[in-house]
Symmetry: D4
Subunit: 170 residues, 8 copies
């Protein structure tokens, strides 16, 4: 059976950032396939992948790319699936190039864009989980536990730092 999520990255140099996406999906027990495919260096393969992705059984596509980041846009243009875009930070322009190239899609072809870089990669996973959880009660429960954990971790950090937080008295 095909994994519900496919993660594409434009270059293997994006993997250190994308890894956070893969890890978070697996942590929430969502299977994921991943690929290095470039809108520009492998346009045919990318086109064919996008064309058949929903028939293969994928339900959500995630694409990470930097610079003139077209990968998510290509997927969204060819596939009917929801496409999530992760802008990757390059050495120049402070990430503005990849962010704007990913998010500013023309009317009709949306890319669900998350933030630039590592936080964005994690958030792409969480966004996929929120979407899949609409039709998967078990995943919805695991996600709810993850959400409670976010709060618990913050409370634990206050304890570790010895801040003035007293949850009871709030």
């Amino acid at each position: 059976m095909t994994a519900p999520v496919a993660v594409l990255m434009g270059s293997d140099s994006d993997l250190p950032v994308v890894q956070g996406c893969l890890d978070k999906l697996r942590e929430l027990e969502v299977e994921v396939d991943y690929f290095v495919l470039s809108a520009h260096r492998t346009p045919d393969l990318t086109h064919r992948f996008a064309k058949s992705a929903h028939e293969k059984g994928y339900r959500i596509l995630i694409a990470a790319a930097g610079g003139a980041a077209h990968l998510a846009g290509v997927l969204a243009a060819v596939s009917p699936l929801p496409v999530i875009g992760i802008p990757i930070l390059g050495e120049q322009l402070a990430g503005l190039d990849s962010l704007l190239s990913t998010v500013q899609m023309p009317a009709g072809i949306p890319v669900a864009t998350v933030g630039v870089g590592k936080s964005g990669a994690v958030n792409a996973a969480i966004l996929a989980v929120r979407i899949l959880a609409l039709g998967d009660p078990a995943l919805a429960e695991r996600f709810e536990a993850f959400r409670r954990g976010l709060q618990e971790k913050v409370i634990a950090k206050n304890e570790k730092l010895g801040t003035s937080l007293d949850v009871q008295s709030l």
Copy 2:
């Protein structure tokens, strides 16, 4: 029965832009409720809305806001549903403020951000449709027709302009 999509806007002055989102959802026969609710001027109402939205039956939340655009972020922080953010263009800073305030969310709390302004508003609707279509084959068919229509409109425009396009020969 609750509509599957709720659209929130931070101010009624956002309605001319948001209208494109409402229209596109209805064109694709997706019911939608809409609200003026502000992360800043009605924080309690917004918080209560977000808290109960998934229990009321909403499946996707769309939020449009400008400037320090926090509305989508508040919804994503409180509700487990997928949240789509539409950055609204203001009189200054060329839309960069609303775009960055919407998209640059911390790890764990994604907002699926679309482009600034009118194209973004339409794309929020389409993105919601792509997500809902994962579990709704009839909607998936209507969406497929919409996608074919995008191409047909482009072909028609070539004919109207008398360009050199000859689809057969491509």
Copy 3:
């Protein structure tokens, strides 16, 4: 008795920057509580904190956050107290995201924004002192001494560097 100032940071990773704020307040003998609380990961706790802060006796709230920095905005939306926002520099976008997310608040809900990063953190403390000194003559005097010290340090640096500065002859 409650401290007059509460400092919130969105993540414990903000502490190295926020420390400059805490230190400056203590240097001027202003008591301060501090907390790790996130607009996005602990929305309920943050909401409850903001709701009761003025009843607990806090007089000024300071919030430090990065990226789509909503923390100060949430406090300002829920609490009637003056709220000061410190934008935290992230790895991308050169601090523009946190600055714009903090400062561009809608009419009715101001955040008193200071500069990005370490200078901003110190300035949040000084701004709180200026406000508190309006009703606290002893603090006003300590602040006046601090202000004289700023000038004296500059004069001392000229001496150390052996510049041409001759204060008498100015």
Copy 4:
């Protein structure tokens, strides 16, 4: 008796924006003096104003300026009072010049910066009110009523637009 708030603008062309600040202060029954004074065209007058402002009885200074907006910074450098800065939008650079010139103050000399343009001007008034209300219970009550009004206006707009908002059911 001196008004508690003085509003300075760098040019009379800033008055249409600054008017929103003056109106909001008067709406909340806070007396206000206003002046056209420029950091650059009247440096002596501005310096002398700043030097004596707190002795004259002013408690908060608000400064509006565009471009290389130094007016708030000059006041903050010379006066011990809290200084609020309103960046004014010019014909170029989308307001980024006035925003950065106002907010990026060096450690030790804060300017409480609000958003660019008309919303910022209103927010400067509200921020002043929040600060003054710390020592003025009657003003605190008027401000509380204003805050309730923000929510009521939003509810009224929902009714006017015929949205799905049902406050009871939230």
Copy 5:
């Protein structure tokens, strides 16, 4: 016979800008075909066009698009021909989105990017002419005359304005 230059635009709303490109090519007697084809709304047609363009006899491809402007990038990824990109100005982000989406291509797949908007459209034509003139002496001569004309027009404007320009004395 196929025209040597094909101009593609992402939307018929780009035509008022692109017209300057078409006019300049025709003024210099370079035949040109033009098309409305979108990287996102007609990905298959665009892909097929790009794939066969050099076999059809085109020698230079020019693409105009706004926002997340991928059209030039798609052509450059699929076709071996030189591709020139014209970034189109939208309502937001001051043209930065289309410029960065066009120019920041990954290593291996260049787009020869010209300036944003109308000047860029004219320059795309001139750049095509410079390239074609490498192998077409008659075109090189027409281009040389055009270049002389640029200087003559400037001299004529000085005369019309009555400036101090005296070409002889330089």
Copy 6:
């Protein structure tokens, strides 16, 4: 005798902005020649102008240009005279392109850059006056009167608006 100041503009469309520079120079009785000369469309003429400008008797060169604004840089590279650059606002990029192209000169070849647009054009004139006044006591006196006038105009505006300004009491 040659005028001491030469003003060059890259295009006659810059004249409405540059006029403010010409007018201010004449108001202060500084003679000025002006020219339409382009770094790009008339490189030879510009080069020859720059080469002989100091021998002709010009003492200060002022250059106004937009976009990739190279005109001031060319003058500074070829002529030993002080060169002042006025960045002209275009339709896109909010003036950032002309500002950065003018000011970011490599070490060794400075352009004295003033602000973007109309204020910058006036300031180019004033900067030239400040420089010329170093060696011209009569001009220094006229400039001093102009400076006093700046303050007097501000005072007059306060009177006209009926502000609280009382110059005596400062």
Copy 7:
């Protein structure tokens, strides 16, 4: 015989970036001359080089420069050849200065601009190859092999990383 391509850089400190351009040209067996010549520090030499470049036999000029990057613009103004510009990243402004100074040329004088930094340098070489290949079938074949290699390298990386890519099944 003259090489078909000349690469100019504004400073020898640009060589580490420019090297990628030289290497890629040589890898594709295109001869190349290179020079350190500055629009600002050697304006005469640069002007003379540009004036005679096409007579010497060069067919394409490539220029790399940072900051107020005028080098490519000077070449395009003086020479009739196609000019490719590589914006070099400096320590400040994230490369925006060199990008805008290179690309925003006035109508009539195009610079074919590639991306900022190392990717841009490689792409300048590839763009030159695409242009030269129009009249050189042997080069066109070598370029075609290079293009196939781009795809093969991506496939190899998938194998090395053990991704889910199965080219057959696409």
Copy 8:
């Protein structure tokens, strides 16, 4: 006798950048005084310095500052001398804050702005030299030698790198 040039820096941390300005002035045998004086931390001293600078005999003032860089603007507002501003790069906002705060002065009060950082510091010195050389033929000759040296250094670098530059044949 007073030096003709005074260099002010807002903080002693600016000295490593400003040193390049001091060194270049001395290399060209222009005497220079330097000072650490802040528009914000020592407003009185700065004001008094500016007021008497031209009477003391200074002819040109150079000011270096970062962030909301007001130092040059204060000098230009108070002193009639030509004022040169060096924007200093900070840890955030890529230097845009100091550049815009320095250059975007209101009509009437110019600051001759040079580029951000080290190149700008050197250029401030050269700009001062160009101005002083208008009335100092010996300095004009030393400057001419410096300008020739710029070209000679470039030629020497070509030799060292073994490039194709043949100055004779140009």
